[in-house]
Structure formats: C-alpha cells, structure tokens
C-alpha cells in the first residue's frame, strides 16, 4: 500500500467502510429474509432477489401515485417501507401456496423450481415496467451528506438505510425469539411432527414464515430504491452474494448472518478501492469459500447433540 499516507489510509478505510455499510445494509436485509426461509424451512429461494424487486417497484408505484400531493415524496419514502413489505409478503404467501409447499424436504428441487420462478418474475417485471431501470425520487432531507472532517463524506441516505436495517434486524430478532409466532416457527424447525402433535398448525407456520421472509426482502427493495435505480434483473445480481452470506453466517443464526453480511460487505468495499470492483469481488468470494471449507458450519454453528 505504498503511496498512501497513514492519514489517507484512515480516510480511505472510513469512507470505503461507510460505502460498505450501505452494501452491508442491503445484503443484510436480503439475507435476513433468506436466512429465515432457509434456516427455518430448508427452502432454497432462488427468487428471493425478485421479491426484493417487488418491494422496489412497489415503492416506485407509490411515489408515482403520491407525486402530486404536497410533501408527496416525503410521505412516499416513509410509506414505502410498509407497502413494500406488504406487497412482497402477499406475493410470498401466494407463491408458498402455489409452489413451495409441494417441495418441502426436497431442497435441491426448490432451488430449481424457484430459479424458474425467478425467470418468470423477471419477465413479468419487464412486461409491466419495461426493461429500463426506474428510480424513485429521493426527498431533499435524504440527499445531503454528513461531513465530520474535510475528507470524510458520508451520504445521508446510507445512514438512513443503516437505521432501517438496525430496526428491521431488531424486529426480526423480536419476532423469532420473543414472540409467540417465533416460538411456533422455532418449534416447527426443531421438530415438525411434534409441533403438529401439540397443536401448531405447521402448514400455516410455513406459509407465514415464507411470506415474512419475502416481506423483509420487500423492505430491502424499498431501501434499495434510495441508493440505486431498479430494473427487472436488479434482484438477481444480489442472489449469489446473499446466499453466501447466509451460508457463511451459519444457517439459522441471526448473529452469524449479521456478522457475515458485515464482513463480506466490508471486505469487498475496502478491497474495491485498491484493486477495482471485479477483482475485489473475486477475492471476497474466494475467501468466503475457503473459510467455508475450513469451517463448513459457518461462523456461528447451531448447537445440537448429534
């Protein structure tokens, strides 16, 4: 790293670190949903990125509808989060009923079927919204940036997404570990037959779990619109990374998922500065794969007597 002074390096790390935080936020929001779906139901949802895109298009439509109202953009940005969640939730609910429920216990087959689903959904987006990317107007108060020193510049939308991510993560934690629903979900994961026997409607639990996972992807989509424009295939760009995040974190572990999203996003972001995007991605992916081989159970292993 010759040619950079210590001060430069610090600034680079801080700025790239913050750039990484936006990436981290989107990755984590995506991965949370996927981790719930994979961790709890062993379903490989290859169409997860498309549920994110549903959320993104939902916020796009919403902002279009509210455009003419006074302060419409401001309301739209806030309202987009529940609307995006709901849109993706409903879509997920339907998909579970139509497709996923027939494929439990066949994880490799869900992978193929949801890949097909992803292709269909992408085409659906293209027909409905066109192949060109659309963007959502961002209100002024999200446009500026925060400058603690001369050379450090942190965009506010990034901070907002961070905040959102923290809130959603906390909500997921509460849902899984503190709510009645979460208890049922965890029961079903641990022992499906027994859960059924003690009166848990496991089918309903599955459907809700899947739908909520998709709903969180929808929120990721809403967040995504504030930092980037959305196209029909935007979601598929993230799917491989997201899967690696879930696997790397150790399926079924919330802490693991957070830690792995953070390290992957940061590694990529910092390396990007020194070697360019594509090599940074190659190195990040390879590193994750190698670590996974050394520690196949992921960062945080589930503790079960086997």
């Amino acid at each position: 790293m010759g040619g950079f002074s210590a001060q430069d390096l610090t600034a680079i790390f801080v700025m790239q670190g913050f750039a990484g935080l936006s990436f981290f936020s989107v990755l984590l929001l995506m991965a949370l949903g996927l981790a719930i779906i994979y961790g709890q139901m062993r379903v490989i949802n290859m169409a997860h990125g498309e549920f994110m895109v549903i959320g993104a298009y939902a916020s796009y439509l919403l902002s279009g509808a509210l455009r003419h109202l006074p302060a419409g953009t401001d309301i739209a940005v806030l309202l987009a989060i529940p609307v995006a969640f709901l849109a993706a939730f409903v879509a997920g609910y339907l998909i579970e009923w139509l497709l996923i429920r027939h494929l439990y216990h066949r994880p490799l087959d869900t992978l193929l079927a949801t890949w097909g689903l992803a292709l269909i959904m992408q085409q659906g987006f293209r027909s409905a919204f066109g192949a060109r990317e659309v963007s959502v107007p961002v209100p002024d108060w999200l446009r500026g940036s925060y400058r603690p020193t001369m050379i450090i510049d942190i965009p506010l939308n990034g901070l907002a997404i961070m905040l959102l991510t923290v809130l959603v993560t906390a909500a997921v934690w509460w849902f899984l570990y503190r709510s009645r629903w979460g208890l049922r979900v965890r029961c079903t994961t641990a022992n499906r037959e027994m859960s059924g026997a003690v009166g848990i409607n496991t089918k309903r639990v599955d459907r809700m779990t899947f739908a909520i996972g998709c709903g969180i992807a929808g929120i990721a989509g809403a967040a995504f619109t504030t930092i980037s424009s959305t196209g029909p295939t935007s979601g598929s760009l993230y799917i491989v990374d997201t899967f690696l995040v879930v696997v790397f974190g150790g399926a079924g572990s919330l802490i693991g998922t957070i830690a792995s999203a953070f390290s992957i996003a940061q590694a990529q972001s910092v390396m990007e500065f020194f070697m360019g995007g594509s090599m940074a991605k190659v190195l990040t992916l390879l590193t994750v794969i190698v670590i996974l081989l050394l520690r196949p159970e992921g960062l945080v292993a589930s503790k079960v007597r086997r």
Partner: protein, 248 residues
C-alpha cells in the same frame, strides 16, 4: 506395556462434551475377545453415543479407544470398519431400492475403493458368500426381493447380515429388536447367539426379558458413566441400578 493389549476393545477415560454438556464422562470400558456384552440404561445415559464414539460417528473430546491395540479416536470411519468394527443403527438402515442380494453385495468387503468398485466382478465366491449370509439371517428365499418390501424385523436382520458379510471382529448393535414382534425377538436372540460365536458383540437393549435371554455380562450406563457391571441377576439386586433404571 499396559494390560490394554489383552482386551479386544479398551476404552479409557473417554469424555465427549457437546457444547459443555458431557454425554459421556470419564468412561472406561473393556471387552474381551468373543464376548457378548449388553449395555442398558435410561434414556440419555449415553448408550448410543458410546457406539457412535467407537465407530467414529462422534469424535471424543478426551480419552482413548483402543481396538486390537490400535487407537480409533482419530481414525476415519471407513478405516475403523476395515479394522473390523461393524455398526448397526437403531432404525433399520438399508438400501430400500435395491434387492436383498444387492444390499448384501454392496457391503461385500471387496472393491471398497473407487477403482476397486469399478473393477468389481460378481464371481462365484461373492455369490456363495452372499447365499451363506442370507441363510444365516433367514432371507435366503428373498434374495431377489426389493429390500423396501421386507417386514420391519427382516430389515433389521438384513442390516445385521450386511455387517456379517464383512465378518467383523466387533459388532455394535443398537436396539436390534426394537419394534419386533415376540416371535421375531426370539429368533433374533437365537441369531445373535449364533453370531456371537467367534466375534465380540455389544448390544444396546431396553427389553429386560431379551437381555436375560442373551446372557452375558451387562453394563449399566447412567448420565454418561458406568453405574454397574456384572451378570443380569446380580444387577437386578443392585440398589443403584434399581433406583435409576429398573424401578421397584
């Protein structure tokens, strides 16, 4: 140098902990050649874990397992099989889609490497050996039947047969009569006695009548430790055994 070498199987100070919980703790266990040993104990006593440790399915945290003087704790599972340890699982674990014959052939101890398996030929010797084992487990008239269609008891026997064909020196049987009818139990007891000639057998069992019918020394496990050891008749008088397991 130690007396270990006299035993076929010598387990010393064996401990395995799952994230702090010790399923087996400081256990020492010895077996002679040609011995039939029954392991009993309440649920969660560590019986299945003990078998898992011997056959390499679970790895010990501490301690040693010596089989014919060789350390097993770091040996890979298939090597342990090659050394002569056969393991039967609690639920019948057979290849349901294959015929009884194919099941037995798949366990035949030749062609165990990739290239050995590719070059494997079904010759007279193989067929003869398979027939012989099939007679022992009373499935010689069902060789061409699909294994998935066998009765529960027959599946258990088939799995035992799949181990017998490898002629192991130590056979580990996890509840071989679970889910069997009374007549099947009697036949299995007979089968086990035949099998036990010329090799050592460890049987985990819950059914006291069956344990008695087997004869042989009994080890009582409780909370990952050995509570008592001896003949069944003696153990039935043992206060501690009655308290934790047999009941009053």
């Amino acid at each position: 140098m130690s007396s270990n070498t006299d035993f076929l199987l010598a387990i010393e100070d064996l401990t395995v902990s799952f994230d702090g919980f010790k399923a087996i703790e400081g256990l020492s266990f010895y077996m002679d050649k040609n011995e039939l040993r029954v392991v009993i104990g309440p649920n969660g006593a560590g019986k299945t874990t003990l078998l898992d440790l011997i056959c390499g399915k679970t790895r010990a945290t501490e301690g040693s397992i010596k089989f014919k003087g060789k350390e097993l704790t770091r040996m890979s599972e298939h090597r342990i099989v090659w050394e002569g340890v056969g393991r039967k699982f609690q639920n019948p674990s057979i290849y349901e889609g294959l015929t009884v014959f194919d099941n037995l052939e798949a366990s035949y101890p030749r062609g165990r490497g990739v290239f050995g398996a590719l070059a494997f030929k079904r010759d007279e010797e193989v067929v003869e050996r398979i027939r012989q084992v099939a007679r022992e487990i009373q499935l010689d008239d069902k060789l061409e039947q699909e294994a998935g269609l066998l009765s529960h008891g027959q599946k258990q026997w088939l799995e035992i047969g799949m181990l017998l064909i490898q002629d192991p020196e130590l056979l580990l049987l996890d509840e071989p009569v679970a889910g069997m009818s009374l007549s099947e139990r009697l036949e299995t007891a007979q089968l086990l006695k035949t099998i036990a000639k010329g090799r050592s057998v460890v049987v985990i069992e819950h059914d006291m009548a069956f344990v008695k019918s087997l004869g042989g020394k009994v080890t009582v496990l409780h909370q990952g430790k050995i509570l008592a050891e001896g003949a069944m008749e003696a153990l039935q008088q043992d206060r501690r055994v009655i308290d934790v397991y047999l009941g009053h």
